[in-house]
């Protein structure tokens, strides 16, 4: 497939405005300004573009949730928090083609009637925040942004807002709290951000990759976009592939390729000639799939049918040497560290999972532990918490217990009794670093 989102990768000077313009840049925005907001929204609805940040919600429909005739300002927020473990695709777009993101932001802002947009980028991405700042300055200079976008009379300002280290701020309501200068505590929904968002005003939050799809939808038409993939699962998708593959990295493929193609054809297969054991198809918050499920199609609906989710498209590949109990413990550490602490099931549940999984690894597992883990996971998911972080650890960790229960039971059968001891989780305990090989 000819790349759309990564077509600038490998070109010299691809970050500059002149390079972007020479590749037909900002033609999509010109077309959008000529079409008008309603027609742009119709284009995006017809393209069947679904959000690339994790939830896969139809982008055009999301835009229509903004109340008509709302008097106050509206905002567009580009979510560049990219904090889901196994995901590093947005950074790739920003690194090679920041103007593609800015054009997407301008198109979306125009469609929803926003005159201010923010790019919320994770705090660690200092370099990529600077790349965006530089590109924004160029765009302002050339009157692509500012009081009169491309001479159309439509005003738009775009600002970069850097986070400061918090996984939860990738969740859209937590992101809004953080944008407003507060601790990143997720908000209850409803009201949804499209109704009450940033600064109490209607706000649309779209992922970097989602926005980067917009220029080509405008220039090549929604039918072209919808012709890639299959109905309801259309368009190109970036897959971030990491772990035990020969060539880790970001690959752009049509939705609906199989994970076998992604892992074995595009990323060179498993390192060292070893066998595939398991993989997370959409970041670490997606239920794990086993080697037997590698022919699952990588799109939203096929992943849902397989009992998992495409999520952000972060494929974490694990080979046969990996101990799945260690994987579960590593993930539990991550989520315990990143739980904001508002909701008891998530805050306590993730902490208890760390305790139990560490105890099993220390050789003191108990026969009831696998069921206790599953019970904690049920308690912390399915609407028991304000935001989906409870689900984000419950789903993958319970899937590991369900699919690799024998590994837990083998350790437990050989275990010796020991008193439960509380492990420190904060501030720097971190996950178990060394996977014992």
């Amino acid at each position: 497939m000819e790349p759309t989102l990564l077509k600038a990768r490998g070109l010299e000077g691809s970050r500059t405005l002149s390079s972007y313009l020479s590749r037909g840049g900002y033609e999509g925005l010109r077309r959008a300004l000529a079409l008008g907001p309603q027609e742009v929204t119709k284009y995006v609805i017809d393209s069947e573009l679904r959000g690339r940040g994790g939830a896969g919600f139809p982008t055009g429909r999301k835009w229509t949730f903004i109340p008509k005739d709302h008097p106050g300002p509206r905002y567009l927020v580009c979510n560049a928090d990219e904090s889901e473990p196994g995901t590093f695709k947005d950074r790739e777009i920003i690194e090679h083609d920041p103007h593609l993101v800015i054009e997407g932001i301008a198109i979306a802002s125009f469609a929803i009637g926003a005159h201010t947009a923010y790019i919320y980028i994770r705090g660690e991405f200092v370099r990529w925040a600077k790349v965006l700042e530089t590109a924004l300055a160029e765009a302002r200079q050339e009157k692509i942004l500012g009081p009169d976008v491309l001479g159309s009379g439509y005003p738009l300002e775009v600002w970069v807002h850097r986070g400061a280290g918090a996984y939860i701020c990738g969740e859209e309501t937590s992101l809004l709290e953080s944008l407003e200068g507060k601790r990143g505590f997720p908000r209850l929904k409803p009201p949804f951000p499209a109704v009450v968002g940033a600064f109490g005003m209607p706000t649309i939050i779209n992922n970097v990759e989602t926005l980067a799809c917009l220029p080509s939808i405008l220039t090549r038409g929604p039918a072209w976009f919808a012709s890639i993939g299959r109905p309801r699962n259309t368009g190109p998708k970036l897959f971030s592939v990491s772990g035990h593959v020969v060539r880790p990295g970001v690959v752009e493929l049509p939705l609906g390729v199989t994970f076998r193609e992604i892992i074995f054809e595009h990323c060179g297969g498993i390192r060292g000639g070893r066998a595939l054991k398991a993989f997370f198809p959409g970041g670490s918050s997606a239920p794990v799939l086993t080697a037997a499920e590698v022919d699952t199609k990588a799109d939203f609906d096929a992943c849902a049918e397989a009992g998992t989710m495409l999520g952000s498209g972060g494929v974490i590949v694990l080979d046969e040497t990996v101990d799945m109990v260690e994987v579960a413990a590593n993930l539990a550490h991550f989520y315990a560290h990143e739980s904001c602490g508002q909701c008891t099931p998530c805050r306590e549940g993730s902490d208890w999972l760390v305790d139990i999984l560490e105890r099993i690894l220390d050789g003191h597992g108990r026969p009831e532990d696998p069921d206790t883990i599953l019970r904690i996971c049920r308690f912390a998911s399915q609407g028991m918490t304000i935001c989906p972080l409870g689900d984000a650890f419950s789903l993958p960790i319970s899937s590991i217990v369900n699919k690799f229960r024998d590994e837990f039971e083998r350790r437990i059968a050989a275990a010796t009794p020991a008193p439960q001891k509380k492990q420190p989780v904060l501030p720097w305990a971190g996950p178990r670093p060394g996977f014992g090989r």
Binding site: G86, T87, R122, W159, K182, G243, H244, F435
Partner: protein, 175 residues
């Protein structure tokens, strides 16, 4: 170009903080980005951390006064996020990613090597104040696992030999 070291201001310099005209104008510019001053809190804290190296109690007081917020509120925000230093950091903060992809690709070996070479583990710093190790969660660069972020810069696909070369280079930089 190698990573710039952090110059952490001495705690005594930060008892009472007054922003100089450059910082004042930067803060004024940041305030134009948002409809309410509070929203500029994170950017202003970044400005301060870049300037003073860390967020001392005196800095919290000054930021709160400038943005019309309660110091306790600012303190709450500073401590929620992991990247603000509330104590003076070493010149180089080595943030070793320990989440899944980095872990299965050798983050443990990197930490063991750092322990052997520098004698410190996560949460500790060398007595001369050159290096500090922090075990961090996913840095969003899993394709280059294992990853270490040194101050603002990412170093990817590391192994003990590359890490040694990096540490040699950083340690050689004079104040």
């Amino acid at each position: 170009m190698s990573t710039a070291p952090i110059h952490a201001a001495h705690p005594e310099e930060l008892h009472e903080v007054r922003f100089d005209p450059t910082m004042e104008s930067q803060i004024a510019e940041l305030l134009t980005h948002y409809p309410v001053p509070r929203a500029a809190l994170l950017p202003v804290l970044w400005l301060c951390q870049n300037r003073y190296g860390w967020i001392a109690p005196g800095v919290i007081e000054a930021v709160a006064a400038r943005l019309g917020l309660a110091p306790a509120f600012v303190q709450g925000v500073v401590t929620f996020y992991t990247m603000f230093h509330t104590t003076p950091p070493a010149r180089y903060v080595l943030q070793v990613c320990t989440t899944l992809s980095c872990s299965v690709c050798g983050a443990g070996e990197l930490l063991a090597h750092l322990k052997e070479r520098l004698g410190i583990g996560p949460g500790e710093r060398t007595p001369d104040g050159t290096f500090q190790i922090v075990g961090v969660q996913c840095l969003g660069a899993c394709g280059g696992a294992p990853v270490v972020q040194v101050n603002d810069d990412y170093y990817e696909n590391l192994d003990p030999a590359k890490l040694d070369a990096l540490l040699d280079e950083l340690a050689a930089v004079k104040e």
